[in-house]
Symmetry: C2
Subunit: 496 residues, 2 copies
């Protein structure tokens, strides 16, 4: 979930100075428009790690907009008054009315997450709290609220650096307490708990927006732009109440750095090394697939990627290492008539493997948030809810013993062009290139945004995405084989 | 939740014979229309107690419609194949395609409820399963399915009688096993668990429909009519996907027996007895309100009722027994501008009492499913989701120590007319009667349906409704005082 936020996003001073005056003016305009329309309240949640700029951003928003119509709330330890009522009572007291903005700095997530990190609550209790929160946010959305949930993120080394910086400066030294360092030691646990919370509470009508917290200029512009675009989108919306899209606007990275263009596609492997490695990992995979403990698991391999990125070749390198009776390859194309008559996940449920077996999906349920989103085959509400439904699906699979390994194969636009042309020339490869492939190419930027959102929203602790640099086919194949072996090994050995 | 189903609904043979031919013909017609339209699948769940006619009803539906387009599924003990995949896998395999009807006789609720009754799962696990089920049904509804969840109910004595009947008849003796009697001994526990399941999984897009299972003619016509009307309603629906009302049609009782007209409004109390009882219960209430253990609780009294049913007088009889510093009366009228700018529950959250205190609501949050529903102040989707939101609200209150006592005061139409006329004559009472009261009177049948739905859907183990026969004001007042004292006593003594 935090993949994109760790890319080292930044904004140089010149761009920042050029961007901000217009952004501020636009924000102020749209704030007044929302205020006059009095059609919906705006609820902004501010969560995340210490030192990632939560306070600074809230101050900035108040400075850039009219603070008289923004109510900021922090929630320290509960008072007597509060403890004698349901925990949600204090939040109800502070909900902003239609037309106004309420910033909840510390909110219904804070205590639940903290208590879980400290080990004061068990997973089941935590899950119960999260589902209460989901019901609450669903009700707010149904009642018309626009809900923006910002998660300010810093990687572990970045948080350490940040705390040290603050400590060094006499003007900010007071801000870093022993508590902060104690919490820093819990960083990994805190992130595990938070990721779980974010994954289970990111819903179509109230998705989490993960903010890269390191660079102050970047994060300020990112949050302000998201707020601006979400307000504009919601104001523009006409039609009946229930078809409303409440959700925040999902933006492309403002510094044009994303998960895909951050990959180093020049990665290569020499032929001789490739042959050695192929033998090594195929041998390992074969042993693992016959391991006694694999009988309590199943393996689901899932391939997505640009057209001509080499999915087929990679899959062949895997199946070479397996017993043909043990695996099944499911090529996924446009749904059949029977499949269209069912919920979109149905055709994948049909192919869920039993224990000891392997299913390889050549394209998958992620079509919903890729091709169906980009080509408009389903509505925004449909693909927005799909992230949660897919996480749910993979959760159920994992709970039943499945090991899910997901690959996105990336090639550059130039490499794709080269391969397309080659395919047109080579007779036996000609069936592989169609007019549709050329059309898809034109939508490259839209697909790129969809892919990044997909990875950010569905790369989870139980089923992470692996991005594969596939300009060099052999390099990609080895990375894939190695990843599968490592995931299998962890799952199997984890039980010893 | 089972109030209406225990009213002894029945249908005489003559009415039945007159009703059925048209009902069958209509059902068959609409089945073909649905089949040809191929717009949505119909998922019918059949749950409930043994002997309440689940099997018979399923057979009847297959007989009355074209069975080639109905798929009936039962789910015995899981196979190997099934156990090695997620629990939901077997249900996915059997989902009906668009245009077809799938009857799930035994389904995703069955195992969760049984395991909880047997004590093999804890409450938290059970709640987790229920929230997984909710997500699954939400996804089905979002994907377009029409979901009808029938719960076949029998009271405890009725189930006993039914099992004995079946045992006596040599033709049906085989149907009653030792298991059935063992389960019968667990009736109360089974009902507690089931009520909890029904309450938490009854959602706007997939509400439970409780079927009175005793009278075969009644239940057959009830289920078939609900199915027919729900199909017709859904076929008629045009417009965009997300504003669809998936829910089942909510019907008036077909034998015109309902919770309200089943009340004996002739109940009376003699003047002398009244004076004695008033002193007795007011004294008790006063003691209880000053009880040391009440300091860990709060008391919420909620009054709804027909216009002129005597809410004000009843409330005065309560406050006479209390210290004025301890309670607050909240009269609820049309929402103010501030209140309209917030979610509808907001104005009630403001008045949630702290421990040791009492809040009396003269009308309440139930306005959402009464006046707002009947007068069309909110959409069907809004009031349908309100039942769940209200149960959620009361759940939170109870968990924080509140004792919630809810009264519906019923008077007959004649008695209301008498009181209206009297009020118009009596000078100091004239402010109490308005043109609106006369208008409301004309919508009596619509209000009656709304009240019955309200009681059935929000009378829960934690916050049950008490229906008060209020034609005789004094009788009603004593019943109210007594109910409050008893609820308070149980809550306080329960902690000793």
């Amino acid at each position: 979930m935090f993949e994109s936020a760790e890319l080292g996003h930044k904004l140089d001073k010149k761009t920042y100075d050029k961007t901000v005056p217009k952004l501020r003016a636009d924000l102020l305009d749209v704030q007044y428009e929302v205020l006059q329309a009095k059609r919906f309240p705006i609820i902004i949640l501010i969560n995340g790690v210490e030192g990632a700029g939560k306070g600074e951003t809230v101050n900035l928003l108040s400075e850039w907009m009219d603070p008289r119509h923004i109510e900021t709330h922090a929630f320290p330890v509960s008072s007597d008054e509060e403890r004698e009522r349901p925990p949600m009572w204090r939040f109800w007291q502070t909900l902003p009315p239609k037309g106004k903005i309420g910033i909840f700095f510390g909110n219904w997530y804070t205590d639940a997450v903290v208590q879980r990190v400290l080990g004061n609550t068990k997973t089941v209790t935590f899950d119960k709290q999260l589902s209460e929160i989901k019901r609450f946010e669903k009700m707010l959305a149904d009642e018309g609220a626009l809900i923006l949930k910002f998660w300010f993120h810093l990687s572990k080394p970045d948080q350490k650096t940040r705390l040290k910086e603050l400590e060094k400066d006499p003007k900010t030294r007071w801000r870093v307490t022993d508590d902060d360092w104690r919490r820093f030691k819990q960083y990994d646990r805190y992130m595990d708990v938070s990721e779980h919370a974010l994954r289970t509470t990111s819903q179509g009508h109230a998705p989490w927006i993960v903010v890269a917290g390191k660079n102050p200029r970047y994060r300020s512009v990112e949050v302000a732009t998201t707020l601006l675009e979400s307000l504009k989108k919601r104001l523009k919306w006409k039609g009946d109440k229930t078809s409303r899209i409440n959700a925040a606007a999902m933006l492309h990275a403002i510094d044009h750095t994303n998960l895909l263009n951050a990959l180093d596609l020049s990665k290569k492997i020499a032929r001789k090394k490739y042959d050695e490695q192929l033998e090594l990992w195929q041998g390992k995979l074969n042993l693992l697939s016959r391991h006694a403990r694999f009988k309590d698991h199943s393996l689901i391999l899932l391939f997505e990627g640009n057209d001509a990125a080499g999915k087929g070749g990679s899959i062949r390198r895997i199946t070479q290492a397996l017993d043909a009776r043990q695996y099944q390859i499911v090529p996924v194309a446009a749904p059949t008539e029977d499949e269209r008559a069912q919920p979109y996940l149905w055709r994948f449920w049909r192919h869920v493997p039993r224990h000891g077996r392997i299913t390889i999906f050549d394209r998958s349920w992620y079509g919903r948030v890729l091709v169906e989103r980009v080509e408009g085959y389903c509505s925004e509400a449909d693909w927005m809810r799909a992230y949660g439904e897919i996480n749910d699906f993979e959760d159920q699979l994992t709970a039943a013993g499945a090991i899910i390994v997901k690959f996105w194969l990336t090639i550059s636009q130039e490499e794709q062009l080269r391969r397309f042309k080659e395919r047109e020339k080579t007779r036996f490869k000609r069936f592989k290139i169609t007019a549709e492939d050329w059309r898809n190419r034109k939508k490259w930027p839209l697909y790129e945004a969809a892919i990044c959102d997909m990875v950010d929203r569905t790369s989870t602790e139980i089923a992470p995405w692996t991005l594969v640099e596939a300009n060099d086919k052999n390099y990609g194949r080895i990375k894939i084989l190695k990843t599968i072996c490592e995931r299998l090994e962890t799952a199997i050995k984890g039980k010893s």
